[in-house]
Symmetry: D3
Subunit: 238 residues, 6 copies
């Protein structure tokens, strides 16, 4: 039995609140249980150097945690003067994941800058970030269309992410912090709405895992992401 | 007439939500109109080097803004690798203001670290931060007493802060962003519940201001802070 | 009685030496008693990005202390790799103060960069810096006129600064280091030659101070600054 | 057909040279075709703070590339003053991979610091690094045993890594730079000698990939890693 | 007798391997005994700001050591976030030495960036770097001529470097690490093929040295450099 | 004829003012013509890690230039966030030079930290720094003896430095900025009072120089340093 009392294939309660703050073109509060992340999408009418003159746009992401989003206060990265390796790894992952469903040509020479800031952490901040960031990105794109800067959406598909892991020998879905801390294997999976894999990042913290376990984990992730995409669709349709 | 349609001596709607996030010993969301700041207070059972062995504790603060808390996205300070002069100035101000009402001897050799993170900015983020941080600090102290780490409160008084300025020749209270941008003089005032001045920081952005104007600004601030202290008392009494 | 044996409203001996070093367009050594600051003004025929194409110029300041300008050697900021919050706060204050008396339109698209470097500190380094920087700025402007780069002065007024504080219950003017260390309240006041307030920064280090005390401090500061402006006028007239 | 003319399941020529430099406790040059990495293992008789007093040791890794190990010269990270996100991601991966086969309790309170420095890059530098680092680590452990600092080996298994990808629709093994640049999907797989998965990191650079493709990639990786482990065994047995 | 058993005026075995790595325009492994340095020369068709529009090119150098090139592992400079004073001093020396034999006008507006990375250190890394860098530079220039980007060589002369020192009272040539550590005076001398001095850097680590000793050291260096230039000529002629 | 109209072997006017600032244990203003450097020596009753428990002390130096000490304003190193290679090279040179005449055993486990800050630069700032720093160091040592912390002086000899160069084919002494800018070869020589060489750093900026020229330069330097040592002796005797 999981500490969270959830079934092995059960997501935490997922809530997505659009228009959470007022300035950003897209602004979403996403909650995976007690994990809460503010995702904003900001449109900038310029591109980074490697895209200048290419006719293509760019989508990039940054990630941060409020110092006391966690059980123990973490040092503020702005005060330390650098982002940790973990932060950089996560924000690169979010950016790659989002770009997988964006037609950069159709976006035109502009950047959508996504910020994912964790205000309360309870495991799964990177998967919540990707899932929420997609909704913020969608809102920013809708605004570009409404403002007649785009005639069609550059979004090719939905994208969402979930963690899976082997907890006390059993593959389980969507680990919270307590489960994650006591888990041998942790895998983050990012998939499109149509079921394609975009990222798979699996790490055996304890014992290595077998091919059979990997297959079970991938099955769980596929089913979980299908539910997340349905939630995204509902909230965007509303 | 003010852009906000408020009277010259009228505060924005102030809301203080305690227990906003779950990990911190004190956690408050404070809203001055559209300005929203998360203030957390974290207790650490150690002190910085200059207090070691002194028998005294320390209270310090850090301040940050989410990149898209503002109309234009600001660069993330963690990514830039340093905190701006403005950020440091504000966090030093918050720390000094809070320490003015704390008996560090009674706090004992521990640190209360306050974090003020702006999730939406519309003027007055530093005054909202100080006002909200006091409530978070109070909650953290209450928890120390409840946990029997302290027998009496080291808090000597309330503390709150408000901005005042001269808008189109008229002294007004609690400037929002639009008013602040078009304001000749901006003064931030920090006062205790019993009416003592702790900080006065006035800057003439445009024309220098006269002694008579300064007196009018101080009158406004005194009255505004009295209201804020009453709100703090209500919310802490609840 | 003050440790310095001065009357409550008595300045330290103020000396301003123009043309102190040979390279800068304006170069001044200012002494407030044992506090000695070299202020230079450098003209650069370019402006920072936010002023490009605006037709306006810019005036900015940097501040530093020699490592052994103080009783205990301080770590060199260049070696530490960053400027402290205090340094940034002071240099922002100097820059704002000077800009308050400069017509940036008349200055044209050029920058005057002021450097204030403390070679000996005995309290009041920021007020001495502002007061001396004005003279260096004036000399740089005079040179621009003499070189026919400007036809009229962009300087609208004099500017000077002084500290006041409450020492053993008595409001006193121009605190030296010993007085400042033992002082409950410290206020730095920046005013123009015609008596307008540009900056007021008051901090209660110990007990908060009353409105009556604030009024007394402002009276002292006004009188002190009038004397400093007279000294500036004399030295520039010479 | 692959640009390298290799079969889909064919590794590049792998060469491992032990005792490559003279100072390190383990020093290996590993070549995957034209990719050449120097892997050294240094024993330090201390542990990082989070392991002090735990009775356990630590294994960690750092990664670097000589500036002209690549086709275009890259900026030197020491000169830029920071390691890129990519560098940090890779060195964290190497460290986690090695720790997966080390019994930290048996290692005792000491650190083995592994350095992987790429002197020539042609794709697969991280997989070559892991594969070579294991041999250097093994040599360092052997020296600890020979020096009677350890009585039994803390190494629980072999560890090796390989990349797989989908090149022009076909799953292929061990991508070189040209193949990697033109590849839709890239997956790095780290496995133990006994066939357990330690890390799987798959990224769809172009189109997302299906579950069937994922299965094919994992099959290729398993077979490739079995060959690498055999080579490691041969070279260590020699 | 020297620890290395060499005669006072005897160089270590010097080996220069051209075309050591495949990407750089010039790539050399130079060995002075156990000191091994990879020197690469990279051609970039741009110049730093101070040369733009001048019609002249630039030659510059960077230097690094692999962390375990030394007996004790050194901290990686990229991880520390800055290059040590020693590193900067050495790379400035290498750059100046190379520029002494390059006609920057004839090079045209391009930069040759030389990287010297020590893979194994046993004393004399800076002198080996200069001596090897010259050969890499020569290869890069030859490629520019072969590619018809230059019609004549901008190289005016050979350049090489050697250390000399006073070991137990006796002036000796080309110190290895053991000799260097126990040596009172260390001088690095850089000379052209035609016998001109380009750099002399002598430091008395222990007792100051006399004019007579200086003369003896300069004699040794002149003879040693003549041998190095002959080796450079042989290897380039091959 | 030299631009300075001096004879080839003529020093600029050298002035040394002791007790220049009031806080430091040794404080000297040294002037070599228009080059003016403040040298302070600060005693700290602790040693850096590599000397702890050794019974020996340490002498170290830092160097800086005020931003407008030069003809063109230089960027402030504290604002840039790092010291240039040149700065580090110079401060290492000053530190080594001073240590050459200090018996660290006799100094005991304390550090003398020397700061050399250039307030006006006109060539030769590093040689003036060394020459002035010695006097500041001497004053700090004298104070230690007077305070009965030392019973005998750890200073073994005088130390001074001068530059020499080849200007228009003629070896000349003590180059000022104009001469230095137009000079083919520049050598800085540091010698003890008894005539031993401590540092020789010669660089051919233009044409390499011959052995005969080197001998002439060394002759000039020896004579110049003898004069400097005499001036140091006079000023310390006074």
């Amino acid at each position: 039995m999981r500490p969270s009392l959830r079934l092995a294939n059960e997501l935490r309660r997922v809530r997505i609140t659009r228009h959470y703050t007022k300035h950003a073109e897209g602004s979403v509060l996403i909650e995976f249980g007690d994990t809460k992340v503010i995702c904003t999408a900001s449109v900038e009418e310029r591109v980074p150097p490697h895209k200048r003159g290419s006719g293509e746009g760019w989508v990039t992401a940054e990630y941060g945690m409020l110092p006391r989003s966690t059980g123990e206060r973490m040092q503020r990265e702005a005060a330390k003067g650098k982002q940790s390796g973990r932060t950089q790894e996560i924000q690169r992952l979010i950016g790659r994941s989002l770009r997988a469903v964006v037609d950069l040509q159709k976006l035109g020479e502009r950047t959508i800058q996504v910020d994912c800031d964790v205000i309360q952490a309870d495991g799964g901040t990177r998967t919540a970030s990707i899932t929420g960031a997609y909704v913020a990105l969608h809102d920013a794109v809708t605004k570009l269309i409404r403002d007649q800067k785009l005639t069609e959406s550059p979004l090719k598909d939905f994208i969402a992410a979930i963690s899976v892991g082997i907890y006390q020998g059993i593959p389980v879905l969507d680990l919270d912090y307590v489960e994650d801390s006591d888990c041998d294997t942790d895998m983050n999976v990012v998939m499109t709405g149509s079921g394609g894999f975009v990222e798979v990042q699996g790490t055996a913290e304890g014992a290595p895992y077998s091919r059979a376990e990997m297959n079970a984990l991938l099955d769980l992730a596929q089913a979980g992401i299908a539910q997340l995409v349905e939630i995204q669709g509902d909230v965007l349709g509303g």
